[in-house]
């Protein structure tokens, strides 16, 4: 001890300040992303005190493309291919609500068969997205089988969508007035066969992943988002339903033919990462059920799209339409001034809304829990940036 005091005195004689430990010294600032160490094209800054996260600040925008501004330069039809870029894995759903909003503005009636095909493509595409998300969730929790399996099974639905739309990932299938083309021959049988196979696979997913004790330990009780907080933060989709609120746009405000489809809203009440990762899985099961009904109830023949003017336009006005996408409610607010180009387009996406829950859940949790919380939010950085 004498030695230490001697040293202090020596340093004071030398004119040096003794720096004592402050709170800032205790904290370490870490930058997660944007070069994809498990964050996507997204960065958030966190500060850790020992093992615990005490500060979190999301910094999105690395893949901001200015979709909303681009819309103002193109007419209603030209907008479709670039609008699906924010979420190419769910491209049918992001153009779905756009089509609905334009139809409302321009007063276009969609033929019944077109409505069914649209809903069918949207359900198939939701499976593609959810499987992709599940694969990423698996690999970032260190479960490499859960990366391989969904990636492989995703091909089933991509093949179906390829047969239906002509493109594997970016379909540009929904247009105001219906869909681009009719269902190919033999599609129904093929679709039923693959859905039946996929349902069998889902039980295997349950065994290897959701009932895995390691996975459960890492997710159960982690990142609790209570019902009140979920409402307060305005989250949507699987994050909302995992907090015990049975809200699904397909039920709350049925669009096209969804009011004729019989399905249940899948939700859980445990509010943790496990619930947030299980709800999309339950949605996939329910989606198989919906796909079968759509194939059964679809009219055997008829038009699939309405005849449009070369440059569809409507009277001045505004429209807000939403659909249930893989990441929750996806709304378009479109203002039209009566010309064939929209005056203003706003895309309200689930990822952007769920981002608010990220700092809320991360602050106070352990650093090791970060991947399981972050990916459970069903967050897609490119979609959030638009």
């Amino acid at each position: 001890m004498d030695n230490l005091e001697q040293k202090f005195n020596e340093t004071i004689k030398m004119g040096l300040d003794i720096v004592k430990e402050t709170e800032e010294d205790r904290l370490m600032t870490l930058s997660v992303g944007p070069q994809h160490p498990g964050s996507g094209h997204f960065r958030f800054t966190i500060k850790v005190d020992g093992d615990y996260i005490v500060y979190c600040d999301p910094d999105p925008g690395y893949v901001h493309r200015g979709e909303e501004k681009m819309c103002e330069y193109r007419n209603f039809i030209q907008n479709i291919p670039h609008l699906e870029r924010p979420i190419i894995h769910d491209s049918t759903n992001i153009t779905y609500s756009y089509s609905l909003a334009v139809e409302e503005l321009a007063n276009i009636q969609v033929p019944l068969r077109g409505q069914y095909i649209r809903a069918l493509a949207s359900e198939l595409n939701r499976q593609v997205y959810t499987l992709y998300w599940l694969a990423i969730y698996g690999i970032f929790l260190g479960h490499s089988t859960m990366f391989m399996w969904p990636m492989g099974d995703r091909e089933l639905f991509i093949d179906l969508l390829e047969a239906l739309t002509g493109a594997r990932v970016t379909h540009a299938f929904n247009i105001p007035g219906g869909v681009r083309n009719d269902v190919p021959e033999g599609f129904r049988d093929r679709c039923l066969r693959q859905v039946a196979y996929f349902e069998k696979r889902l039980t295997e997913y349950e065994d290897i992943f959701y009932n895995n004790p390691l996975f459960r330990q890492r997710t159960e009780g982690v990142g609790i988002l209570t019902k009140d907080n979920a409402i307060k933060l305005g989250v949507t989709g699987s994050v909302l339903r995992a907090s015990g609120i049975p809200f699904d746009v397909r039920k709350a405000e049925p669009y096209d033919i969804y009011n004729e489809i019989d399905f249940k809203i899948q939700y859980m009440k445990t509010c943790d990462s496990f619930a947030r990762s299980t709800v999309p899985f339950l949605d996939m099961k329910e989606s198989c059920h919906i796909i079968r009904q759509l194939l059964d109830k679809m009219p055997k023949s008829g038009e699939v799209r309405a005849k449009l003017q070369p440059n569809p336009k409507g009277p001045p006005g505004e429209s807000y339409k939403r659909v249930e996408s893989g990441r929750g409610a996806l709304g378009y607010y479109i203002v039209s001034d009566g010309t064939p180009k929209p005056y203003r387009v706003k895309i309200s996406v689930g990822s952007f809304r769920n981002m608010l829950a990220l700092p809320f859940l991360l602050i106070g949790s352990k650093l090791a829990d970060m991947p399981s919380i972050y990916w459970s939010l069903n967050y897609w950085p490119v979609e959030a940036d638009r």
């Binding site: 999105p60 925008g61 901001h64 200015g66 909303e68 501004k69 681009m70 330069y73 409302e104 007063n107 979920a230 409402i231 307060k232 933060l233 305005g234 949507t236 909302l240 609120i245 809200f247 709350a252 405000e253 009277p315 001045p316 006005g317 505004e318 429209s319 807000y320 939403r322 409610a329 709304g331 607010y333 203002v335 039209s336 001034d337 009566g338 005056y343 203003r344 706003k346 309200s348 952007f352 809304r353 981002m355 608010l356 940036d385 638009r386």
Partner: protein, 190 residues
């Protein structure tokens, strides 16, 4: 509150609504008569605020729009949350109207806690002057507007008073141009 505020360049639908006259020219082919539920919502708002708001209109089934002057928006928003039961914001968007020299900010509010309101979207809108665009923030009433308002600030240059962070969000860190969603910002080559 001034009547010329409601004459927008693209707003043929704008019409002052009394408690019972609810026809809008916009939805010619859909119902011209307000459904009971939306009519009830409109009545509640009109009877509470009366002349303090510019107008309340029924747009389509499930869609109602209120235009309020900016100094009343906080009171109207608290009423909407506490009495009507709308509990979160789905989207906040700004629209630039250079001809009126105004920017409209519109909050699309929805409800999770009241079952009857799940199909309803209440659009609460207000207008700010384009040259000195300042609006009160609704962050103390709806926490969910936090990032949406921040995005509106950087994209349209609307300063939200009371918002803790009117800062850059999605744009590059070295962004030094005017807010990009204003109409005078042009994409190069277009």
């Amino acid at each position: 509150m001034s009547s010329d505020q409601s004459n927008t360049q693209n707003g043929s639908e704008q019409k002052k609504v009394n408690s019972d006259s609810t026809q809008t020219s916009m939805s010619k082919k859909t119902e011209a008569i307000t459904p009971e539920f939306e009519g009830d919502l409109i009545n509640k708002i009109v009877s509470k605020f009366g002349d303090k708001i510019i107008h309340v209109i029924y747009i389509r089934p499930g869609r109602t729009k209120i235009l309020v002057p900016s100094h009343e928006i906080v009171q109207v928003a608290s009423f909407i949350k506490d009495t009507l039961g709308f509990d979160h914001a789905e989207s906040v968007s700004g629209t630039d109207y250079p001809k009126d020299n105004q920017i409209e900010v519109i909050y699309h509010l929805g409800s999770y806690s009241v079952d009857k309101l799940s199909s309803q979207i209440l659009a609460l809108s207000t207008r700010a002057d384009r040259n000195d665009s300042r609006l009160p923030s609704l962050i103390n009433i709806f926490k969910s507007v936090e990032y949406h308002e921040r995005e509106t600030f950087e994209m349209l240059g609307v300063y939200f008073e009371g918002h803790p962070r009117n800062e850059r969000f999605l744009l590059p860190e070295d962004w030094a141009d005017i807010p990009p969603l204003r109409k005078e910002f042009r994409i190069k080559g277009r």
